[in-house]
């Protein structure tokens, strides 16, 4: 009885789904976005270590500081990094005094002694403030676009670190034939919808002046700020990998000893 019922139900589902499989369907219209869209370039990163494997490797402190400089002088005009606190900058190699100075460049909301809203200088305990008070303010100022917060950007996109670098260096003036690009948008094949509202942020060599002698090129800016944004998204990366090494070493020794005792316990059983 059960098997007859099962047979009936089975046939119902099988015929149904196969009917759907052979049913004619509209031919997929050619999707130009998909054709033009490019996957991120594969770059080598200091934090991925030898072979770019991601097993070893630490952040390059000097690069993070340069990246922070690029962020501050270029990106910060529109994009916040609201999940990062000023005190976190200690990871980049800044000392307490430097962090205080950096924080003091920003104003954050406060309440004065009369209970009136006011602003005060930020301290190490504050987070980087938002650029716009809310989404509506951002869209009003940005021609309808809403510049996203960048704190988590390299984790919020597939292959995020490479993606951010590719996007920053992927602008092109050669718009392919047949592709419609409104004048207010820019052509960038690494962006999911190709047309992006953000103007090329790293437009010219020399735009940011480095003090450590690194090449002042747009490519170098893009690499540095991408490394910085990888840190803002995953500030515990080095701690994580270091802990992982110790944990795995411990587990290998533990498992090895476990295997030896397993052999000893089973020695008299295997063959009889």
């Amino acid at each position: 009885m059960i098997r007859l019922g099962a047979l009936a139900v089975g046939l119902l589902f099988v015929v149904n789904v196969l009917w759907g499989a052979i049913a004619p369907r509209e031919a997929a219209s050619p999707d130009m976005t998909k054709e033009l869209h490019k996957h991120p370039k594969h770059m080598e990163w200091a934090h991925n270590g030898p072979g770019n494997l991601g097993v070893f490797g630490t952040f390059d402190r000097a690069q993070l500081q340069r990246g922070f400089q690029v962020y501050k002088e270029v990106c910060a005009a529109c994009h916040s990094i609201n999940r990062v606190a000023f005190r976190d900058l200690a990871d980049l190699g800044y000392n307490e005094g430097q962090i205080k100075t950096i924080a003091a460049e920003y104003d954050v909301a406060a309440i004065d002694s009369n209970g009136e809203p006011t602003t005060r200088k930020a301290t190490g305990a504050d987070k980087f403030p938002l650029v716009y008070a809310n989404e509506a303010a951002a869209r009003a100022a940005q021609n309808g676009a809403n510049p996203p917060d960048l704190s988590l950007m390299t984790k919020a996109r597939p292959d995020g670190t490479n993606y951010v670098y590719s996007l920053l260096t992927g602008y092109s003036d050669d718009v392919p034939k047949g592709w419609v690009k409104p004048d207010t948008l820019y052509y960038n094949p690494y962006f999911h919808s190709i047309n992006i509202a953000m103007p090329p942020p790293l437009a010219a060599d020399g735009q940011v002046t480095y003090s450590d002698g690194s090449p002042a090129t747009t490519d170098q800016y893009a690499k540095d700020v991408t490394a910085f944004l990888t840190w803002t998204a995953e500030p515990k990366l080095e701690n994580r990998k270091e802990t992982g090494m110790a944990v795995i070493l411990f587990l290998i020794i533990m498992t090895g000893l476990g295997y030896l005792s397993y052999r000893k316990v089973w020695a008299d059983v295997k063959k009889a």
Binding site: A6, F13, G20, P158, Y262, V269, K270
Partner: protein, 434 residues
């Protein structure tokens, strides 16, 4: 437990005796996981995965309880509280990555556990209830994992909640009521997040309870084994402790090494990047996909594209998705072959491997956007999924010519290892220990 030669618990100390007469907890453990549980001596590594699943659940509960100390179930701050855990809570990043990766590993381990049961016929009499309790655990896990994923309140959390609860709206008359009840409103919002948090904390303990029943049901007939032949004598078994505690410990070590490799070196490789974007009800992600462990069922859901017999395609998809799991409850009565292990069922074994491939490729289809060739492929594979259990297996199990079974577990072990030591058929029962 159930075998007459099982070692009886003997309290050695006065305190032990005193306690044993009042609450025989030590006796219970001794009989359940200790020297008092005779276990077939030929269990291979695949029999390790039940214990691993238990460990995976315990890891989830421990890390989950700690995460709940810092998580805030409020749509305005849920995402921020998760990032607070990642950045500001001491070791918070490790706890959260363990919990997120742990969910994937839990499912991975349970899938291997289920496939092991399918291959060796562990659902067959007298283990039907054991099998069904396992399926109940699987369903509880799925509900728990889904609700936990929503708690992060990222983009995929929000839209996943929208899509999955929306499935219930396919049912006529009661559908929208069910959806409203699940969400606590008309779309995912604070009420949704709060009830999901409450249930996400509750269900693992319910799961734990069902696992106790599952293990209890296991101890009535004892473990199945790769030959599928019943235990006949003491020579067929070894005490669970120290033999399988030692063996499972090695498996656990290997499992933890793999787990640590993911937690510490590629913690986000199993997740969707979209869930690092805070939930936005006004912006739908391009591709809404669940986590990988739901992909095969998601593919079945989307495989039904045409209205059939006056029932809309969406409802067919929902019915098929639920049916794809519920039909497993009937498996003990669909597969009627008296031979358990596929080692002795050549045709069933071939079909088993076909099914494994079908299930894996269905998973691949489920992770892809709903476009060709993936839709058509998942339709054909879905047809096979249902045909396999409901049509092919019942017929094959009736007609199949099986290979001769070994007389006992010991005989099978000797046939495998005896030839290596050159013993041959001279003295199969009195093989000296080496």
């Amino acid at each position: 437990m159930s075998f007459p030669w099982a070692k009886q618990y003997q309290p050695t100390s006065e305190v032990g005796k005193w306690m044993d007469e009042r609450l025989p907890l030590a006796r219970f453990v001794h009989g359940a996981l200790g020297p008092g549980y005779p276990t077939p001596k030929n269990l291979n590594a695949f029999y390790n995965f039940g214990v691993l699943a238990g460990v995976a659940l315990v890891i989830q509960i421990i890390t989950g309880v700690v995460l709940a100390m810092h998580f805030a179930a409020d749509t305005r701050v849920a995402f921020d509280s998760v990032e607070h855990i990642m950045r500001d809570v001491n070791g918070g990043w490790m706890i959260r990555y363990m919990h997120a990766v742990g969910a994937s590993f839990f499912f991975g381990v349970v899938y291997i556990h289920i496939f092991r049961g399918l291959y060796y016929g562990s659902y067959k009499p007298p283990r039907e209830v054991l099998w069904m309790l396992g399926l109940v655990i699987f369903l509880l896990m799925m509900a728990t994992a889904f609700m936990g994923y929503v708690l992060v309140w990222g983009q995929m959390s929000f839209w996943g909640a929208q899509v999955i609860t929306g499935l219930f709206s396919a049912f006529p008359v009661v559908g929208t009521y069910i959806q409203t009840l699940l969400l606590g409103g008309f779309s995912p919002d604070n009420a949704t997040l709060n009830r999901f948090f409450s249930l996400h904390y509750l269900l693992p303990f319910v799961t734990f309870g069902v696992i106790i029943l599952h293990v209890w049901a296991l101890h009535i007939p004892g473990s199945n084994n790769p030959t599928g032949v019943d235990v006949k004598s003491e020579a067929d078994t070894v005490p669970f402790h120290p033999y399988y505690t030692a063996k499972d410990f090695v498996g656990l070590g290997i499992y933890l090494i793999l787990f640590a490799a993911f937690v510490f070196f590629m913690p986000n490789s199993l997740g969707e990047p979209d869930n690092y974007i805070p939930a936005n009800p006004l912006s739908t992600p391009a591709h809404i996909v669940p986590e990988w462990y739901f992909w095969p069922f998601y593919a079945i859901l989307r495989a039904f594209t045409t209205d059939f017999l006056g029932v809309p395609a969406k409802l067919w998809g929902v019915l098929a998705m639920f049916a794809s799991i519920l039909l497993l409850f009937l498996l003990p009565w669909l597969d009627t072959s008296p031979v358990r292990s596929n080692n002795y069922r050549p045709l069933s074994r071939l079909l088993f491997w076909v099914f494994v491939v079908v299930a894996v490729v269905l998973g691949v289809c489920g992770g892809k956007p709903a476009e060709e060739p993936w839709v058509r492929l998942s339709q054909v594979l879905t047809a096979y999924y249902f045909a396999h259990f409901l049509i092919i297996l019942p017929i094959v199990s009736k007609l199949e010519k099986t290979k001769p079974l070994p007389g006992s577990i010991s005989e099978a072990v000797l046939a495998k290892y005896g030839s290596k030591s050159g013993g041959g058929d001279t003295a199969p029962l009195a093989q000296p220990a080496e």
